[in-house]
Symmetry: C2
Subunit: 371 residues, 2 copies
């Protein structure tokens, strides 16, 4: 069996998350991108979007990724990619550039629709904290389908398009309750917050079918990727022929879920949990091709956070080694994320370049995976 493709997410480039680059939010009270852009005057908006996007990721990042064994990038894009949602700044020129750079450096791209109107999860990275109303209004769905069609039309014939992901992380009831979503991400729009609820599987099945049809009509051969919506086993029987061809299910495996469920544990406990995640990925892979589209080294362990220096390095290397072994049955994985713009060393593990260059995620793990 082939080893998984190695990848990394280009998070916080075209879809912002405040914790990954708080500087972009200065001068506002905004906690998410939905509130950021309207809070800025027109000139600030133009400049902040332009200089951030022009500087945060460039060709030299693709040069680094290529030299360090990265084969695919997962590229989160917003629903306002193609413009027309003033004051939200479109970003299609930057996606074009990413395809050029990736082609030059032999890297393939998974374009990932990361936000939709009304939000599909209420996370900060979904664009509107505490709000999850995407599925309650057909107009939202039409916007999402139009953007997916647009992406398929514009990039469907690029030789280095690896796939199109329909929608990132539509939230489940289980996840909603686990993280106590309405209290963890408070809605500024109280009415929208009150109407919010997890995305039902019935809705998701219909939407996924429609999205498949729309993309497949335009791009007959491109892999189409569906996020598991934190309900991985529900999809085992769903994506079969003849209705679906060349489909991949994306599952995100953060150790946070363990931490929320079990609290702090020692390294042995964390490694046991990672083994368990490996079992889930292996089981799922026997039903449908699986991409571990997001993961990180963060053990979410208060005890681990107190380690420093060599101890911390050994600890994290053990976690990373176990995680990479756990994703072996998947067709690929993408680290979250390539780059942060924060100045706190304890977050270095979320920055793939830093994690590699400082030896937290050793380069030889990337090399080992080749054999």
């Amino acid at each position: 069996m082939d080893r998984p493709m190695r990848g990394v997410n280009l998070g916080n480039w075209l879809v912002l998350e405040k914790w990954m680059a708080p500087g972009i939010f200065v001068g506002t009270d905004a906690e998410d991108e939905s509130h950021l852009w309207p809070a800025l005057d027109q000139i600030t908006r133009r400049e902040r979007a332009m200089v951030h996007r022009d500087t945060y990721i460039t060709d030299r990042d693709f040069a680094w990724m290529s030299a360090n064994g990265v084969e695919i990038v997962r590229l989160p894009v917003p629903y306002f990619t193609f413009g027309g949602f003033d004051p939200y700044p479109g970003c299609v020129d930057h996606i074009d550039r990413a395809f050029d750079w990736a082609e030059r450096r032999g890297i393939r791209i998974l374009v990932d629709l990361h936000t939709v109107p009304g939000s599909q999860n209420g996370f900060d990275n979904g664009g509107i904290c505490g709000v999850c109303t995407f599925h309650l209004d057909r107009a939202n769905v039409e916007v999402a389908l139009d953007v997916l069609s647009g992406l398929a039309e514009r990039y469907g014939r690029r030789p280095n398009l690896w796939g199109i992901e329909v929608l990132n992380e539509p939230v489940s009831r289980e996840m909603w309750d686990l993280i106590d979503l309405p209290n963890r991400f408070r809605a500024l729009d109280v009415d929208a917050g009150a109407r919010s609820e997890p995305v039902p599987s019935t809705f998701l099945r219909t939407f996924y079918g429609e999205a498949y049809e729309r993309i497949r009509r335009i791009a007959p051969d491109v892999p189409i990727v569906f996020h598991d919506g934190f309900r991985l086993p529900e999809w085992y029987g769903f994506f079969g022929a003849p209705d679906f061809r060349n489909v991949v299910v994306d599952t995100h495996q953060y150790l946070a879920q363990r931490a929320f469920a079990h609290g702090d544990t020692d390294l042995a406990g964390i490694l046991a949990e990672i083994d368990h995640l490996g079992d889930l990925v292996r089981e799922a892979s026997s039903h449908v091709p699986i991409l571990v589209g997001e993961w990180s080294l963060d053990p979410y362990s208060p005890a681990a956070a107190t380690l420093t220096g060599t101890e911390r390095r050994s600890y994290l290397q053990a976690v990373g080694r176990a995680e990479l072994a756990a994703w072996e049955a998947a067709i690929g994985w993408c680290y979250w994320s390539y780059r942060l713009n924060v100045d706190s060393p304890e977050r270095d593990i979320w920055d793939f370049l830093k994690a590699i260059e400082t030896g937290l995620l050793p380069a030889d793990l990337m090399a080992d995976a080749e054999s």
Copy 2:
């Protein structure tokens, strides 16, 4: 004899050069930083400076540099570093951050005063194209001395300050004529252009003495670095005790000077020229400690520019190997530059990270230099 310290310039971060990041100049006709900032409205200026500086260089760059053998960075700063020259945006907070990052990663910093009022060379990187009037007005000199005092006061006790460089590239008559400066960099201010002339050695000796006194009073032990002003042999007898202690002379060795003088040559001719530069550096090093504060792989050869792929790589590797050997007598060298923000592969050789990661400047050359 110890091998040279390996370094890189953080060009185009706090002192802009249009060719290194044309995007920062969009919406203006400005060719240099002096004309850029006044051409922008106040909000654009604030945002463009802030987001560029926050994003272009961060702690992760120091992490990469540290992991890749970089020991010192040469940090060009403008005369308006400490503010007070509206509309030019001060940048001392970012220098502070650079010291924090460098300290965390075990890297030392050479702070380099790269621009002064009136300009000391008329280059685009001197801040005002075609203008060289720094030395004609005592008020300019006072500004420069005050900034140097300010840098010494603020950073003189930082353990990872490697040195303070008094003034980058004050231009000589020989260099002025060689590059036909008034026609190569046309002055927008015709009157200032007409008054411009190379910086005389008599002025430079006096200014260097004053700058030494000012810095040395505040920072008794820090190395003070003087650019050779493209007249290296003139300094052989100058920096002796008891007047000067702990002094380094910075000489910039681009292959452009050969190209301007001799036109295009084949690889053998370029390698012979690099050998000659090595002789110059060795001879100078017998008189005073020498830093090769700027150099790059660019052979300035139209013939070389037509090469691609493996041929180009071998060619540039030969050039780089010869250059590194030529700088062996120096106490250190700094590549120009760490990062560009341009999208033209032929400029990749000016980007140290790209040159390393794509193998144009092989990582093993960095390792070899250790033995």
